[in-house]
């Protein structure tokens, strides 16, 4: 299998992508390439890239460290701020954050900041360098619900301050969206596993197959001596549209589709003719999954234009390079089927009278997600009509010992990097709360 950046389509009629489903799309930098890229950096005074990161990563400092061959120092800069440095290096929307702020763009093109971060976190791993050295966990016990990026980030932050942390995870694998909701071409599972191991090496315990509200109640958690509880349960429910025929076999959601593709790798059926509805990164992940899992035709339907699509531009271009069709300013009108199975998707123009008919055995809704209902699990918590938890300041809630971070937080920006930051902020609030004696 090729490991090249320009993934193309194999010649001939099979039209199979040359890239495997589990293969990472972007090749890593070698040390020489990393130093070469770092030497393109203008080493700005008070660099704007360092103001562009939602998680407060300081690219100006770590790129300078690479430039001056202080690679382990660079690892320390990244890791001490973002426990999921290797994950974020792969899936962050740099073009909208650090790289958008890069002054080098004034000359040619921005420094590949994410790729440099990935190089450093890989380097940290290959050299067995431990950038973080946690203290003994002697303070109050903290519990977390869900093992996605927000909880992992909060757990690492608290572990580094001496708090013992336990994460309760309902699934058989930790990582939340990282393990279930992103195509491996963008985020290989080993990277997720390594970073989770990083967190557990700091002393954080993760209890798998343990759903709070089913296997353990909130009261039991409190009784076991946990003095603060963070909800980082993410968004587990895909939104759908009320389209006639949505009950047909073959109509599914992004959460389900991506999770199945990742967990039951061998016998997952991607569908032959797949239509994905949505215009964000999750929609692209679904389309890429379908394509790399050998769907013959994949079409993304999006109600707005290409320019308005929230998806990362690089990912959009990559998806297009895989031979995936895009139909913009179209919205599904009706799903038709035979014997209860989906056969046709009809779509209408959102800004014109255009109409489209697509042969399809699979439709994937990727138009956004929302959390599960937590009102019965955590009684008295404030939440809105879409199940998002109402946060007060810095991840606190209306219940003093309950905190919230990540996508389930009503006020959060729904990206991994923002969840990392949300986790850090909530961890600070938890520390303040516990330092004041839990009041």
């Amino acid at each position: 299998m090729s490991n090249s950046n320009n993934v193309g389509i194999k010649e001939g009629i099979s039209l199979k992508p040359s890239q495997g489903y589990l293969e990472e799309t972007v090749p890593p930098f070698t040390p020489f390439l990393a130093i070469e890229e770092a030497s393109r950096c203008l080493l700005c005074y008070n660099p704007l890239c360092s103001e562009g990161c939602p998680a407060d990563t300081n690219p100006g400092d770590f790129i300078r460290a690479i430039r001056f061959r202080n690679l382990k120092g660079a690892a320390e800069i990244i890791r001490s701020n973002n426990i999921l440095g290797g994950v974020c290096a792969r899936i962050c929307p740099y073009e909208k954050t650090c790289e958008a702020a890069c002054a080098r763009s004034g000359i040619d093109k921005p420094i590949q900041i994410g790729r440099l971060q990935r190089f450093i976190t890989d380097y940290e791993k290959t050299t067995n360098f431990q950038a973080l050295d946690p203290p003994k966990a002697t303070k109050e016990k903290v519990a977390m619900i869900g093992s996605g990026p927000a909880s992992l980030s909060a757990a690492a932050t608290l572990a580094m301050k001496g708090y013992p942390v336990t994460i309760f995870e309902e699934k058989e694998k930790a990582g939340g969206v990282l393990s279930y909701g992103i195509v491996p071409a963008r985020l290989p599972q080993y990277v997720v596993d390594e970073e989770i191991e990083y967190v557990t090496n700091l002393g954080v315990e993760i209890k798998l197959n343990t759903r709070v509200g089913r296997d353990i109640s909130l009261d039991e958690i409190r009784k076991q001596g946990y003095k603060a509880i963070l909800i980082g349960a993410g968004m587990q429910i895909s939104k759908t549209l009320d389209v006639p025929g949505k009950k047909l076999k073959g109509v599914t959601t992004a959460v389900e589709y991506l999770a199945k593709a990742r967990s039951k790798d061998a016998n997952f059926n991607a569908g032959k003719h797949v239509v994905v509805i949505g215009g964000g990164d999750v929609a692209l992940d679904c389309a890429t999954t379908a394509r790399l899992k050998d769907a013959e035709s994949v079409t993304v339907l999006y109600r707005r234009t290409r320019e308005e699509a929230p998806a990362n531009r690089q990912e959009l271009e990559y998806t297009e390079s895989l031979g995936i069709n895009f139909a913009f300013t179209l919205s599904p009108a009706v799903f038709e089927g035979e014997n209860g199975k989906l056969t046709v998707v009809r779509a209408n123009g959102t800004r014109s009278k255009s109409a489209m008919e697509l042969e399809a055995d699979t439709v994937v809704f990727a138009i956004g997600q929302q959390p599960e209902d937590f009102s019965k699990v955590i009684e008295g918590i404030g939440f809105d009509k879409n199940n998002f938890i109402t946060s007060l300041e810095n991840g606190t809630t209306n219940i003093p010992d309950i905190f919230v971070a990540g996508d389930i937080d009503q006020d959060s920006i729904k990206t991994v990097v923002n969840s990392v930051q949300g986790g850090k902020i909530a961890a600070q609030s938890i520390e303040e709360y516990l330092t004041k004696g839990g009041k």
Partner: protein, 434 residues
């Protein structure tokens, strides 16, 4: 086709097709290698230095330190003289001269004692070579009384040049070592003893870098290493100063010079010619890029000379010597203030950092706008900002201010004005911007 100037030039009575030669080194250590270079357009070769006994070599034997992404900033080697049998080399040199009668073929000698020098000179002369180079300068010879120790000793030079002269009637070129403060002294001795020209520099004794696990210098040879000679781009500034010193030395003024040291482009070569070398030699760049680099040297230099209107390459040789003057004689009554083109500025702040930390705190930084402003009263015109700016032609030489005549030499209180009484024409350079 663009206009190309004729690059032919005389060297000790030999009409060279162009001034580009291989220096005596591994790149010219066999018939095939030399032939390939000559076929690529080279003007001649200094064949790899021979000794009558074959030295033992180590492995590895090179280091090529990097700066950021650039390898071969300099190049360290631990090689000695030719690793081929003496007679085989003599046969190859003879054949080269027979097959390439119009190219300059020079043999390089390193003798062990006077008899050996004389005998080798005699052997070489019998081959029909054009000239002989006497290698007084290899810093990594393991035998006593050979290599760069010779080049530092006026007595040894005198003895060995005379010995070579006894063995040969051919022109003799003394290859000098840079591991010395004043090269003019041994160079004068070589000429006085009977050499006709000087070639320099040979490699500079150095340590390029250290190994962080074995705690020795590079390259690591079974856990140990040695000081040895470096060549390559980093040595060029040192080589240019030695050539300049000799070209400006009254006792060496009419002595032809062959320039060596870090030459990889036509511009590098032209620099040596400007300070008085009649031709240039190179090795490191060939080791890195191959013989083909001579094609761009020929093309680049001939286009440049045609554009500048030089009819003969001879007219270009030494043209800069009159403009390289003692520091005392530099005019110091004006300062050129840099000028920032804000349309080009990307707001990186590098000029600000360098001026604050490395110069005269004469740039103000607007954090909001990310905009540097030059403070005229504080700026001394050193132009460090211009050199660190990463944007092409964003900071350029601007306004010229002159010292008020009556305040000459008053130091820090000097008043600077654009239209001072002693205002005069100023020639402004543009650094190395292509």
């Amino acid at each position: 086709m663009a206009k190309h100037a004729d690059l032919s030039i005389d060297f000790l009575g030999f009409k060279c097709e162009n001034p580009f030669f291989l220096s005596s080194s591994p790149v010219g250590s066999s018939y095939e290698m030399c032939a390939k270079f000559l076929d690529a357009g080279g003007g001649g070769v200094f064949y790899k230095t021979l000794t009558t006994t074959i030295p033992e070599e180590c492995s590895p034997r090179f280091d090529a330190p990097r700066k950021e992404a650039t390898p071969f900033i300099s190049f360290k080697n631990m090689e000695q003289t030719s690793d081929k049998p003496y007679q085989d080399n003599l046969d190859m040199m003879k054949k080269l001269k027979e097959d390439y009668p119009n190219k300059l073929i020079i043999g390089s000698i390193m003798g062990m004692d006077e008899d050996n020098w004389e005998q080798m000179a005699r052997d070489y002369t019998a081959l029909g070579l054009d000239m002989l180079e006497l290698n007084f300068s290899c810093p990594q010879m393991t035998y006593e009384g050979m290599g760069s120790d010779v080049g530092a000793s006026v007595e040894l030079i005198d003895k060995y040049v005379k010995a070579a002269r006894r063995g040969s009637h051919l022109p003799l070129i003394a290859k000098m070592t840079p591991n010395i403060e004043k090269m003019e002294i041994p160079a004068r001795a070589a000429i006085k003893a009977g050499a006709q020209a000087i070639s320099t520099i040979n490699t500079i004794k150095a340590i390029t870098g250290m190994d962080f696990d074995n705690f020795t210098c590079l390259p690591v040879v079974n856990g140990k290493s040695s000081i040895s000679g470096i060549s390559g781009k980093a040595t060029k500034p040192i080589a240019l100063r030695f050539i300049t010193n000799m070209a400006q030395d009254p006792e060496l003024q009419d002595i032809p010079l062959s320039g060596i040291g870090g030459i990889e482009t036509w511009e590098d070569a032209a620099e040596f010619l400007m300070v008085g070398a009649s031709n240039v030699q190179f090795t490191t760049s060939v080791m890195q890029y191959g013989y083909r680099i001579v094609e761009d040297m020929i093309s680049g230099l001939s286009i440049y000379l045609a554009e500048k209107g030089f009819d003969k390459l001879e007219d270009f040789v030494g043209i800069a010597l009159k403009n390289i003057i003692p520091a005392d004689d530099i005019v110091r009554d004006f300062k050129i203030q840099p000028k920032i083109d804000y349309d080009k500025c990307v707001g990186c702040g590098r000029c600000y950092i360098s001026c604050m930390d490395g110069a005269h705190q004469a740039i103000e930084w607007d954090e909001e706008e990310r905009k540097p402003t030059i403070l005229e009263d504080k700026c001394v015109g050193c132009q460090l900002c211009l050199l660190v700016c990463p944007v092409y032609d964003c900071i350029t030489p601007g306004k010229i201010l002159f010292k008020e005549e009556d305040q000459f030499g008053k130091g820090s209180n000097t008043e600077w004005k654009e239209d001072a009484v002693n205002k005069h024409d100023v020639i402004v350079g543009k650094y190395d911007r292509p």
